[in-house]
Amino acid sequence: MELRSPLGRVRGLGPTKEGGTGHWWMQRMTAIALVPLTIWFVVSTVSMVGVDLAYFREWISGPGNAVLLILLTIAVYHHGQLGLQVVIEDYIHHEWVHFTAIISVKLGAFSMAVYTIYSITLLAFGS
């Protein structure tokens, strides 16, 4: 006799084992954050074609710029890895390739974000 309910048996068997709602919610949260952040970024950097390092340093240490750039970095890489995860889940069905790809994307995005924040901090404090 099967004592587990049908719901109990299927829970956790989907591709998003840690829960799809959290994924969906964070995708929307980062998307909302990215609307003003990307507009700020485009407006700020549109005039930076060909500027030299001194100008770039001055901009990055200007009021709010480093903080906004760090927020943009976090939101971009978080949103990006959530999106790539869905693409992998939809198109890569081979189990090992599937998990290797998802783990690589998550660790890669996290590393890139940390490296970017480190670089921003370095420039903002003017080392």
Partner: protein
């Protein structure tokens, strides 16, 4: 997962292309393309930490004709994903599911992404100040 000979849902190719489905897959494609923008952003900022020569090289790559072409494509992708993302948010709060609205907002996003990419590049060229 036993799959045997169960019927599968028809593949994408059997459907007539429609603005709704085309824009949906474009949202995904531009999203993947924008990952490259994130990597480029990291490269640009990280290059600055390696000194004036490294930053100058990065600026040179981005400012070359090929770099500008890539940046233009990225601008279109960015504004498309941004505009269509806002369209998605409207759907999330339950607005805009009627077919005429779907088509109208769809075309609005397409026009927005192309116009904004040109506006951005126009502003870039206007503000560059001889550099």
């Amino acid at each position: 997962m036993a799959s045997g000979n169960r019927p599968l849902s028809p593949h994408l190719q059997v459907y007539r292309p429609q603005i709704t489905s085309m824009m949906s897959i474009l949202h995904r494609l531009t999203g993947v393309a924008l990952i490259a923008v994130a990597v480029l952003l990291t490269y640009w900022i990280a290059a600055a930490t390696y000194g004036p020569e490294a930053f100058g090289r990065a600026q040179g790559v981005l400012g070359s004709w090929f770099g500008r072409l890539v940046l233009f494509g990225m601008s279109v992708s960015l504004f498309y994903h941004l505009g269509n993302g806002i369209r998605h948010m409207a759907w999330d709060i339950g607005w805009g599911y009627e077919l005429p609205k779907l088509v109208a907002t769809g075309w609005a996003v397409i026009v927005f992404s192309i116009v904004m990419a040109f506006v951005t590049f126009g502003a870039g060229y206007a503000l560059r100040g001889g550099a």
